[in-house]
């Protein structure tokens, strides 16, 4: 077996190093991308724990409530006749002005200094007397006694470093509850209460005990539930990213298939001989699968190393997406764990073997006599393009049906299946396409581009199977680029149009501390009041958002001024519901509108009631309408500002929209508003800059998808280069004969380049058709089921035509090296070999 493997597989491979290297590299790139996304996803999602979850110590439970937990709850827990450890916390973020880094800013009880929340070193109650004491994580590199300034909401606050948190790896900044309450304007409300229980009874028993001890409106969860909640929310995103990352590997699989097919064809004679001298079918099958496995192993090993490098870049891109769509996080270091390593090897080898199965099986079933006979004609004749086309039709129908299926556990499995079926359908339809296009157009091509073009077409047709596989590989990659391109382009256009409607005010204000989907720093309540009194200002809309949890998923609860929205806003509701009527009713009491992603995630319709606990009280809101929103995937529940203030009385807004009086220039209005903000760190945006910012964030969010597509294209082009090289080597005899018959070297070169060009053309055509179909699945099935956004279909014409031209050019480039080899063939030598 070992000798057989060496003779049949390794020796030929060593003789053809360029092609072997290209195949290995293709697998490597595929594996690398999968691993990079896996590692980057882990790092980006994993970091969430190390930032906000810092200093949670060894607590068992956490008590929280949207809008805050009254401090009295902590007191009543402390007074229970049980030895509980109770740690009240306020949680926010602050920015380090010099570096612009946003760090967790926590208020904990520095007096009680329960274990796990206590700073190292002596407690120093005296430092608390001044109210500016702060304890910093090591990463700040500050020493006790130094001064530090932090941006908290809309002001810069100076602190004295009272200690360094030795057990704190991250960048958390910790102050006493009294300081946090004053700076964050919490009015006695806490964000969380952590509870550690003694091990005298089971955690379930303790949970039941605590549940009875706290008001019903509060959420009691095992510690870390929020991290799990965020992971759940990120799951859909990570899933889609993961699926996207497999594209390059699928393209790589086509190339393995091709490589093994070429091996089989080339070694037909050898296969015949070894079979004739007694080797069994299993041995032949094993030898070729072994070849695939060697490619898989080498590719995976290389891919793992490459993936580790790529992850470094990917983590920034993934982190940016997570940050703008989901949660505040600073990516953790990228870790190449043993699991990931084994996973990468397994995937690479498994895909290679699976892709090689069909040609290897064919090799094993060739009758020895047939194999030893010369020629490859019979082999190619086996491609029944019409039968394949029928199969393609059947797969297409199956794909369509799959797309009608609902999601499974919130994941669009059938959407993915539909996409895979469609790719299969395309692969099966390609022989028909090649046949129909080349069979009819040979003479026509000869007239326009010379006999080389005609020969190129016939050459492709005569090796139909190989041509089809190559075309399918490239077409798959192209289709993905097109599909994702159309989806992202449509999304971008939809968001731009939505912003036209959404952003009607002249100026927008927010605190200098940057907001994220899960953190909403506030402006001093006095600022909008001052602005409203300005003679230049017509109206001021105060918007306040709170991160909450609804049915175990993060969401946002917000209050807006519906009087002003009604007067100026142009928010669109689903089903063309009457905006003004909805706003008018919202003012009358406990009514809400929800954003589309929220409605989709929680299956909420107009008329449903939402039950929320706000600051420990239970409130019920009737949903009046669902509005289009693309600002956050978490989903919004919006009520009228007055309604919100009844439950959560803090008047400080997170955002303020300012409408100027008619005739007031933007510059004059802006100057007046900025004067009214003097003394506070407030960002003032004009309508235009806000839109530009939003689109910039959008592009940053999708940068990772562009990167993944790019790699898939590179793999496909490498495959084309390898395949053309094989083509040239296989057709030495043919090319030699042509040269012998008088064809010049240049003509031989043109022939190969034409073949490359035709391949590119076929692939572009198939890819375009498949891409458009896939984009429909992405937009209407996968996106809807995993994110719940309505995306208006839109042709990003420039992007598409540019992309296709680029890919075409790349295939031509890939033909250059094989073409040069073809040109350099010595006809005499080749003929002599016969």
């Amino acid at each position: 077996m070992g000798r057989l493997f060496f003779r049949l597989i390794l020796r030929p491979l060593l003789r053809d190093p360029v092609r072997a290297a290209l195949t290995t590299l293709a697998i490597a790139l595929g594996v690398a991308v999968v691993l990079a996304i896996e590692m980057a996803g882990d790092a980006a999602a994993g970091s969430f724990r190390s930032s906000v979850e810092s200093l949670t110590g060894d607590a068992d439970f956490e008590i929280s409530a949207p809008g805050g937990v009254p401090g009295e709850v902590a007191a009543s827990l402390l007074r229970l006749p049980e030895p509980l450890e109770v740690r009240p916390r306020m949680e926010s973020f602050a920015e380090v002005p010099e570096s612009g880094r946003v760090v967790p800013f926590l208020g904990v009880d520095m007096v009680a200094s329960a274990p796990g929340s206590s700073p190292s070193g002596s407690l120093g109650l005296t430092s608390l007397e001044d109210g500016d004491a702060i304890w910093l994580g090591r990463a700040f590199h500050r020493r006790k006694g130094e001064r530090i300034s932090l941006l908290v909401d809309d002001r810069v606050v100076g602190f004295t470093v009272a200690g360094v948190l030795s057990e704190q790896r991250g960048e958390a900044a910790v102050v006493d509850l009294s300081t946090a309450d004053r700076l964050l304007g919490r009015h006695g409300l806490l964000d969380r209460i952590l509870v550690r229980v003694p091990r005298t009874r089971s955690l379930n028993a303790w949970e039941a005990f605590l549940r009875r001890a706290i008001p019903s409106g509060l959420t009691l969860e095992p510690q870390g539930a929020r991290t799990r909640e965020n992971r759940r929310m990120l799951e859909a995103f990570r899933w889609n990213l993961r699926v996207l990352s497999y594209i390059a590997l699928v393209v790589g699989a086509f190339l393995i298939y091709n490589t093994i097919s070429v091996s089989v064809v080339r070694r037909r004679a050898e296969i015949g001989i070894v079979r004739a001298v007694g080797a069994g079918r299993a041995a032949v099958l094993g030898a070729f699968l072994g070849e695939a496995a060697v490619f898989g192993l080498c590719g995976s090993l290389l891919g793992t190393a490459l993936g580790r490098l790529m992850a470094q870049g990917a983590v920034r891109l993934v982190g940016a997406t997570v940050q703008s769509l989901y949660v505040s996080s600073t990516p953790a270091p990228v870790m190449l764990s043993a699991n990931v390593l084994v996973f990468g090897l397994a995937v690479g080898i498994a895909i290679s073997i699976a892709a090689a199965w069909l040609p290897a099986w064919e090799a094993a079933h060739v009758a020895p006599v047939e194999a030893m006979a010369r020629g490859r004609v019979d082999y190619q004749a086996r491609v029944h393009w019409l039968r394949n086309l029928l199969w393609a039709g059947a797969l297409g129908v199956a794909a369509y049906l799959a797309c009608l299926m609902p999601p499974v556990a919130g994941k669009p499995f059938f959407g993915y299946l539909g996409a895979l079926l469609l790719i299969g359908a395309m692969a099966l339809a390609i022989p028909a396409m090649v046949t129909l296009l080349t069979a009819r157009s040979g003479r026509w091509m000869a007239r326009i581009a010379g006999p080389e073009a005609m020969l190129a077409g016939r050459g492709l047709l005569s090796s139909l199977r190989r041509t089809s596989v190559l075309t399918a590989a490239l077409a798959t990659a192209i289709a993905m680029v097109i599909a994702v391109g159309i989806m992202v382009g449509s999304f971008r256009q939809t968001v731009a149009l939505w912003m036209e409607n959404q952003l009607q005010a002249d100026l927008y204000l927010r605190p200098a501390l940057t907001a994220a989907a899960d953190r909403h720093p506030t402006l001093s309540a006095a600022i909008p009041d001052r602005i409203a009194a300005l003679p230049e200002v017509e109206a001021v809309d105060r918007f306040r958002a709170y991160p909450i949890s609804y049915q175990g998923l993060p969401a946002t609860f917000a209050g807006g001024d519906t009087t002003i929205s009604s007067r100026f806003g142009k928010v669109q509701f689903l089903g063309a519901a009457d905006r003004k009527a909805i706003y008018a009713r919202m003012r009358q009491g406990d009514f809400a509108v929800v954003s589309e992603p929220f409605a989709n995630k929680h299956h909420v319709r107009a008329g449903d009631a939402l039950s929320l606990s706000l600051a420990g009280r239970t409130a019920r809101f009737e949903v009046l309408g669902i509005y289009y929103d693309y600002s956050s995937e978490r989903g919004f529940i919006v009520v009228d500002r007055q309604t919100m203030l009844r439950y959560l009385p803090d008047p400080a807004p997170s955002n303020v929209a300012v409408y100027l009086k008619p005739g007031v220039s933007l510059d004059r209005g802006r100057a007046a508003v900025e004067r009214a903000c003097a003394g506070r760190q407030v960002m003032v945006f004009s309508n235009r800059t806000l839109r530009e910012d939003a689109i910039r964030i959008f592009d940053r969010t999708f940068a990772i998808t562009y990167a993944l597509e790019g790699v898939a294209i590179v793999v496909a082009v490498m495959g084309i280069a390898g395949a053309l090289l094989a083509l040239v080597i296989d057709r030495r005899r043919e090319l030699g004969l042509l040269r012998f018959l008088g064809a010049s070297g240049t003509q031989a070169r043109r022939l190969i380049l034409f073949e490359a060009g035709l391949l590119g053309l076929f692939a572009n055509l198939a890819g375009l058709c498949l891409g458009v179909a896939l984009s429909l699945i992405l937009i209407y099935v996968i996106n809807r089921q995993s994110f719940g956004w309505t995306i208006q279909f839109h042709w990003p014409a420039a992007l598409l035509s540019g992309g296709l031209a680029l890919i075409f050019a790349a295939t031509l480039l890939a033909g250059l090296y094989p073409a040069r080899i073809a040109m350099r063939l010595n006809p005499i030598e080749v003929i002599h070999e016969e």
Binding site: E72, A74, A75, L78, P83, L128, L177, S178
Partner: protein
């Protein structure tokens, strides 16, 4: 006269905005049983000797301290640090020869700790003294003490028919020369106690006698004072004796040492340093801190014909509170023999060297 005097030794100078303990203070009860935010420091001290029906003997200590930190009338935050509350809890299992103790520190917060008349409660988390106000006819006070720790807990009812004693002269217990170097010091010297102690997975129904001190002041010691020895003794004939001896850093006994004798009807008689003598005997060295405490004492009060031998049934009753914000001291149950028999509590501070001086 309690341990946190030393705890505050480093802060004697920072007392400017607070009221001093001066002669002629108009006591008003029950108001004066609760907190006095005008004064910087205040404590409520409960100690007692208890027995279960099977003879199992216990001693207990539950102490609440209040320390003013910042006075800012403009701060309305429920988390403001106007005061901090420290509490100590100890249980002496004398029959089992084991000593348990715990300590905690809390801000008043929205109900974490406090001592307000409004609540009729002195508490720190789930350690509390709940007062029945007004007390039932015939009683000077009725309270319930509850405390929970990981290792033990107790729930004790205490009541007294004797009126509260105000120590010292003209309402002040002078500790050092000069105006205000004094405290207002009130005691319930005999509290009939019964309730339940849970320790080591067992529950004991107990009865016995407890003693309560309440003291508030702004600064009372002077820098020359190093520590003290304090006795609260309850005799079988229904009389009680409180004595303290202040030790100076040079080893001398401070002339401001004093005491109070309470007769069976509850009448108090002040004792000056010249009225009594205290003589330390056998010593015991703490393995944990290295401090050497005298655990046997001879007391003589000639004017009352008292010649007493004080001994302890459990050597290890040293408190070493965690967190570094309170000093190390010995406080434990004692037996009294001699001309009168009885039991009581003894507190000794300033023996653990620098460990006794790490303050807030």
């Amino acid at each position: 006269m309690k341990s946190s005097l030393l705890l505050l030794a480093g802060l004697l100078s920072a007392a400017a905005p607070y009221r001093l303990a001066l002669p002629g203070y108009p006591f008003e009860f029950p108001r004066d049983h609760f907190n006095h935010p005008d004064f910087q420091t205040e404590w409520w001290y409960y100690t007692g000797n208890l027995r279960a029906a099977d003879g199992h003997r216990f001693g207990f200590e539950l102490t609440f301290f209040r320390r003013a930190l910042v006075r800012n009338p403009a701060d309305f935050s429920p988390w403001k640090l106007d005061d901090v509350y420290v509490a100590h809890l100890a249980l002496s299992d004398i029959t089992g020869q084991r000593f348990y103790h715990a300590s905690r520190l809390n801000r008043p917060g929205p109900g974490f700790a406090g001592a307000a008349l409004r609540d009729a409660l002195v508490w720190n988390g789930n350690w509390s003294a709940r007062w029945t106000l007004p007390p039932p006819a015939g009683f000077s006070t009725v309270q319930s003490l509850r405390a929970f720790d990981a290792d033990f807990s107790f729930n004790l009812g205490i009541e007294s028919r004797k009126p509260p004693v105000i120590h010292g002269k003209r309402g002040v217990s002078q500790k050092a020369p000069g105006k205000g170097h004094a405290s207002h010091y009130i005691s319930f010297t005999r509290l009939d106690t019964n309730g339940v102690i849970e320790v080591g997975g067992k529950s004991y129904a107990v009865r016995g006698a407890a003693w309560m001190d309440h003291e508030f002041f702004t600064h009372q010691l002077d820098r020359g004072q190093a520590g003290w020895d304090w006795f609260s003794l309850q005799f079988d004939d229904n009389t009680e004796l409180m004595l303290f001896r202040l030790r100076r850093k040079d080893g001398a006994i401070d002339p401001f040492s004093a005491g109070t004798f309470v007769d069976a009807r509850g009448a108090a008689r002040h004792l000056d340093q010249g009225d009594f003598s205290l003589e330390p005997g056998r010593t015991w060295k703490s393995e944990k801190t290295g401090a050497v405490y005298p655990l046997a004492w001879k007391i003589a009060v000639p004017s009352l014909s008292l010649r007493l031998d004080v001994t302890t049934p459990l050597d290890q009753q040293e408190l070493t509170p965690q967190g570094g914000y309170t000093p190390v001291y010995w406080e434990g149950a004692v037996d009294v023999g001699g001309s009168r028999r009885g039991s009581g509590y003894l507190e000794m501070t300033g023996y653990a060297g620098s460990q006794g001086l790490t303050g807030l």
